[in-house]
Amino acid sequence: MPMRRINANGLLAMAACVVLASCGGKPQSSAPQALVVSFGLAEPKHLVPSDCVEEMGSDVLHALFAPLVEWNDKFVPEEIAAESVTSPDNKVWTIKLKAGWKFHNGEPVTADSYIDAWNAGAWGPNAHDGNNLFSKFDGYDEMNPADAKQVPKVRKLKGLVKVDELTFVVTLKDPYINFKSMLGYTVFLPLPKAAFTDVANNVVDPQFQEAPIGQGPFKMVGKWQHDQLIKVVRNDAYMGPEKPHIAGIDFKIYQTLPTQYQDLLADQLDIVPQIPTESLASARADLGDRFKQNMGTTIQILAFPTYDRHYSKVAIRKAISMAIDRDEIVHTIFSDAQVSLRGFVPPFLPGSRPNTCGEACEYNPAKAKALFDSAGGAAAVGGRVEFAYNVDGGHKPWIDAACNQIRHNLGVECLGNPQPKFADLLRKAKAKESMGLFRMGWIADYPVLEDYLEPLYSTHGISNYYGYSNPEVDKLLAAGDRAPTQAAALELYQKAEDIIARDLPVLPLRYMQNTFGVSTRVANVELDPYRRVRWLKVTAAH
């Protein structure tokens, strides 16, 4: 079976070569291979960069587009499509583009490609998912009036100015030290003129995303076949520093992870980016050295709603935290595909320190019990502890395990509080309804400390659903953003993290590892911390 599959792929690639009349014609650093790699995907929401903040869409967009900068293994942004990204004061940023780049339709990539795309993303009435990423730009507020029913009068970002064909200047409201890192995010990819029906009014053609035109290492074949397939082939005109080895990618769209895994076992699917939890225990045996693991950046926490007086004492929160055996849970429930988290950021980011949570995240049942009793015991939490979770995310096993530990170690009743969807947890939090602690996950948009702290712990953070507010934290985070150097910024962010650790508004629990599987046909498959395949590295297996 595998043999036949390779042949079929070879034929496809050859057919593509005939159509494109370009394979093997130009000298390349490495011989292009005929392999078409299939990848397990779920149906993306959108394929317009500024409207794409979820994993599925960005998997596809990062094959079709090249970002201005890309984070390297040390999470430092390095120029890809940009020649340089510089600023004297971290407020006014000059972005120079590399010359000679073209979109897949032959249109040259210019400063306008970025300016038009970003204006469309920042334009409130478009309601793009990545809209808030532009909120630091000067002129964002004029395009997003407080009353969203009003059509904003300003249609272009004031802080976005073209200098020449390959240079443009971004002016921010305030200095932002992490701006260059931020540019690596999907939302900041460019768009060709062909993407718009009306550039002046920021109108993106609704049909554009059916066959997106990028400037990246791969280009679309045909259209997005919804719920089935997105097919891309190597773009031989790609200008980036590294070229793809493989002939193309079939993004095969799946409804469920277990089906992807069955197809991997049958050797019909080349890359499954996430092994389903229920198969983790057997996956090492099933796949041998085709089972892979590396660092991921999604963290899981339990949050204390501030409106619930039962958890207003730090001692109570700390006792609950110390009564949870994180290591036991990641080992038995997640077969070590997740790792205990004892800080508020993943422990490998620049500026992260191990165990910032300190004693509060160490498992110590005796001390937890003493602390809990001295802070009022079961009566203080209203007779029982509750963990609210969404039932559609497979969270029941670890919630139940944590509850058992609480019950056993603190001697207080503990119950899971299942809700149909995550939306229900948010609705309850907004309405300040009592539901106990509730679970949350977070993945930063770009790998900097601040993007784990500001959205979750600043007073107006977009994911601060539990109402935590400490003016000191707000001040430190804002000061970090305005700091002149990375080192100075990290120090301020770390100070903010220390205060958060003292206040303990949430319990850090775990961070996820990328746990993925590959077929017998592919080699050199690496996932970045955002679970995206580094497509330019992938080769055929020998």
């Binding site: 979820e54 609704p206 799946y254 469920t256 049958a266 995550f422 939306a423």
Partner: protein, 308 residues
């Protein structure tokens, strides 16, 4: 006959609109925050929420939203799903897949259910009858997701006889395993129905009369007995076609078939009222048409039944 048909069709129209209304009301009552459901665990910005709320009339009262929906349904503009895709496009892609799947399943049910049932009835109490009784009991007692997952793992991943999932380029060939899974439950029921019905008719007076008149056994079984025995079976199979289409949710999800069941499931998850109501309305239509056809078939099979 035509008066009967007219009456049935009028009833059908009433049923259709009544059911649409009820389903819409149910979807409306479970939809708490469709926009957040679509955003998943990601925060939804206030500005974005306001834009989308206005776009999909989500802040309007129930009867106004229903009015918008019915207006669209009657004028043929089904509108957009909450993810921005036209519902009509989604349905046009998904329906053929589900219909193909259901028809293949139905063929399997008819072929194996009826022939197996007749065979078991003719050899009552023998090995085939006994084993088919045991097997059908097991099948009826096993949830479809268990059968589906086990078949996928064994025949797909381990033995490699079938692709474990639907594949667009292989098309209809990848429907066979899921169609077998989908058919199994109905197959078991129709086999048992046929067997009992044929067994009962074999003991009837007219069979004894026919035998004593010297008619060949093949003719007795093939024409007289079968014709009389098929009435309950046809009722079941006819009603089952609708169930096969609507009930393919689990099978479609296991075998990754982007059909109507998948759309429906996704729609319910996303609290996408218009999408769910449209799909359910179409399922109701299929139900109405198949039951009407079955009722008309009765008259063909049994001359004593006349629709006045």
């Amino acid at each position: 006959m035509s008066a009967y048909l007219l009456r049935r069709l009028l009833q059908g129209v009433l049923t259709f609109f009544g059911a649409t209304f009820i389903v819409y009301a149910m979807m409306f009552s479970i939809a708490r925050d469709p926009l957040q459901a679509l955003a998943g665990e990601r925060p939804l910005l206030p500005g974005q929420r306001a834009q989308l709320t206005a776009q999909y009339h989500l802040d309007k009262p129930f009867i106004v939203q229903y009015g918008y929906y019915m207006k669209g349904l009657v004028t043929g503009h089904l509108g957009n799903s909450l993810n921005g895709r036209p519902i009509a496009d989604m349905l046009a892609e998904a329906w053929p897949r589900t219909i193909q799947l259901a028809l293949i399943a139905e063929v399997i049910v008819i072929l194996f259910g009826i022939s197996g049932g007749v065979y078991a009835a003719l050899r009552r109490g023998r090995v085939f009858d006994q084993t088919s009784l045991a097997l059908t009991l097991v099948v009826i007692g096993t949830p479809v997701f268990v059968i589906g997952s086990v078949f996928q793992s064994v025949f797909g991943a381990q033995l490699g006889w079938f692709r474990p999932s639907y594949s667009a380029e292989l098309g209809i060939a990848t429907y066979i395993l899921p169609a077998i899974v989908l058919a199994l439950l109905s197959l078991a029921t129709s086999l048992r129905l046929t067997r009992n019905s044929v067994a009962e008719n074999l003991r009837a007076d007219y069979v004894r009369t026919a035998t004593s008149k010297g008619l060949a056994r093949d003719r007795i079984v093939g024409v007289h007995v079968l014709r009389n025995s098929l009435i309950p079976v046809i009722t079941f199979i006819g009603a089952d076609l609708g169930a096969l289409m609507g009930g393919a949710i689990v099978t479609e999800s296991i075998y990754n078939i982007p059909g109507v069941g998948h759309l429906l499931f996704q729609g319910i998850q996303l609290e996408d009222g218009p999408r769910v109501v449209t799909i359910v309305s179409l399922l109701i239509l299929i139900y109405l048409v198949t039951t009407l056809l079955v009722d008309l078939l009765y008259a063909v099979l049994d001359p004593r039944i006349r629709h006045g």
